[in-house]
Amino acid sequence: MKHFKTFKALMLSVALTAMSLVGIPTDGMAKSKFVFANSSPYDTLDPHAIYDVGRVASRLNMYDGLMRWLDNPPKLTPWLAESYNISADGKTYTFKLRKGATFHDGSPVEAKDVVYSIERILALKKGAVSLFSKSIEPGSTQAPDNHTVVFNLNAASSIFLATVPAIHVVNSDLLKSKEVDGDWGGTWLSKNEAGSGSFELTRYDPAIGFQAKRYANHFMGWGDKYLDEIEFRTVKEINSRVLGLLNGDFHGTDGYLPQDQVKRLKADSNMNVLEEESMRIFYSIIHNGRKPFDDVNLRKALSYAFDYDAFINNILSGSVARNPVPVPNNIWGNPKDAKGYTYDLEKAKEYLAKVKGPIPEITIGALAGYGQTEQAAALLQNGLSKIGLKSKIVAEPWSVASKKMRDEQQMYDMLWLWRSTYYADPNNWVGEMYACDQVGARNNSWYCKPEVDKLLMEARVEPDQAKRAANYEKAAKMVTDDAGGIFVYNTKWFGPYNKKVKGVRFSPIGNAQEMRWVYME
């Protein structure tokens, strides 16, 4: 008994010592410091090695480009470039750089840095290279003087300007000094930065995230309200992000949380949830190149067998916008008069009756870990069973699905997924998803119709946006009438922030992760 009392006393003293060391978590953050909880890890800071939305914060805040997408609907705004000119044949783009822009080490941003940046993107073959590899030859970009950059494209392109923001300009002199074994400074840049952006890196740990301080000499200048410091931390668990936000550990997190979490945040008096329609459509690919899915009657039957209203209103609690065509509602080129499909089993059966030949069990692909794709697959399976069609759901990780998508034989019969905004041009959607020259690459539907393709090819080189818009509207309608896929919704962004956070500017490219205008009240 004696030693038990001794043990009890020992445990008590340990506990008391622990309590004294625990302390109460305090808000040790500076007044003008913003902390964001991100779902993706910041594995690398190299802006030319990655091109995903999950890690966009490092690129947007520490780097500048010739142009920038701002606000919603996104406007292409001159940034490092003060003006540009497109030649009559659409093959030469000349940018004039503004004077006075500097990198974080104080050296001026010059045309040679832009040339180096595009050459680096082409050489690394990573990140956004697919936007440029077909249109720009290595060595073709020129810098006739310190403030003029000339892009000489292989062929006329009306899309190129929309993709220019993806060329993040890096400090060429600095990176050349860090090159090892011809790596273009890749190893060094993966954990450092060489930018001119609104914030300069102060700390980075791939396991934690990055921290940056305001770059006072940024060429855009600063008003009287700004953040002195930003911190983007990796917090993978949704629960941890939400609880951390409610607890005051973070000031903001991503805007694509499940609706039950959004409601929870909205109910808190210290939270402010901003709402915007983004440009990220949710749809199902249909393998148009495989029998019997090459039969438009079957595709129409599938399109009428999906309960759009139930999915949007019941499963997603009305948190998204119905988008019946392969172009987001809120961008030019969207055919506003297109009705799309509805849940109509009678019509589905009607079209099914016209299908010649047997219909095998349909494989519906979903992305493992992405609940909505699995829910959509289950809902579709339910509809198909009501019209007498057998199906099976195959949920696989994105790393597996993305491989199968490029192989005509391995590709699923149908696959639920999203199409994000890489650049704000209708070509990003209908122009790539249904173009014949993109089959097996960005066209994973194996859809190729000459009349649609003609419209898309014309739009790629037509300089007049109104004419381009007309082409994309027609093409989108044709693909929809042809049931090239099942188009369900356009995503809404629900950005949760601490109510002290002001000045957030949302753009579908960037998802409000550029902090230049944000301040704490």
Partner: protein, 324 residues
Amino acid sequence: MLWFVPTLIGLMIITFTISHIIPADPVAFFAGENATAEQIEALRARYGFDKPLHIQLVNYLIGVTQGDLGISIYTQRPISEDLLARLPATMELTFMAVFFSTIVGVPLGVFAAVYRNSFLDHFLRVLTVSGLAIASFWLAILFQLLFAMELQITPLQGRIDGWGPEKITGFFVLDSLLVADWESLQSAFSHLILPTLTLAFPAMATIVRFTRAGVLDAINSNYVLYEQAMGLPSNLIIWKYVLRNALIGTVTQIGLIFGILIAGAVVVEAVFDWPGLGLYAVEAIMNSDYSAIMGFTLVTGAFFIIVNLIVDILHGIIDPRTQD
């Protein structure tokens, strides 16, 4: 020690085979959905994934002998660099969990045996069964809700407020002490509490059960009867003679637990956003980052073998008879 290298080679071959059987394409995944076929093939050649599998394996094993664990396709950094950066976080958490579970579990096991069939024994039985049955992720979230959200006496997640003390060893508690950074020490310690409790709970349950069984077994020995007859104090008999014999099985379990906790840390690190090897492994698997998966397996496999070697040595010290 003789089996160290063959065991690791076997582990590497199995892991390599399994990771490559999965029908994923890490290059295409990394290149992004907009990548062209040419871009993907160029990247595949750059990382050596265009070579036959057996050549890739041989090249990898040769690289390992030279200390080169490859480059992460995802981070573009050497795997060894990524692992070294994350190792201290997992080691610190694991050490704390093992330490806590041992200093609490062993005495509780002794008491459970000494006061066999008492209320204390029954209570500990319920506690230990719970420890073995409860899912760690559920326990972790419960702890977060109770201690961090409701009572607000511990942080919710993460390893430290801010970025930690000046890096010497990478162990935040130790580094804070070494540089006398008391604020970081307090923060590091407070962040350790919930993940340590979560990780230690099932480990403690195992230690309590093994210690109890070992003590009960030893208590009924003839030498204990003799010592009692000789009039030795009971606490001396229990804590010096009985415990030493009872600990043989417990020490073995502690060694095994060490290795198991490294694997178990994956779930705990995910819930608490603890930036260690476990989280790194999860990301590597989801990204099909072959080199990272192999590197993690190599490190944890080597660690497990070393820990078991230490356990064998300790066995010999505690019970010299095993050296004969």
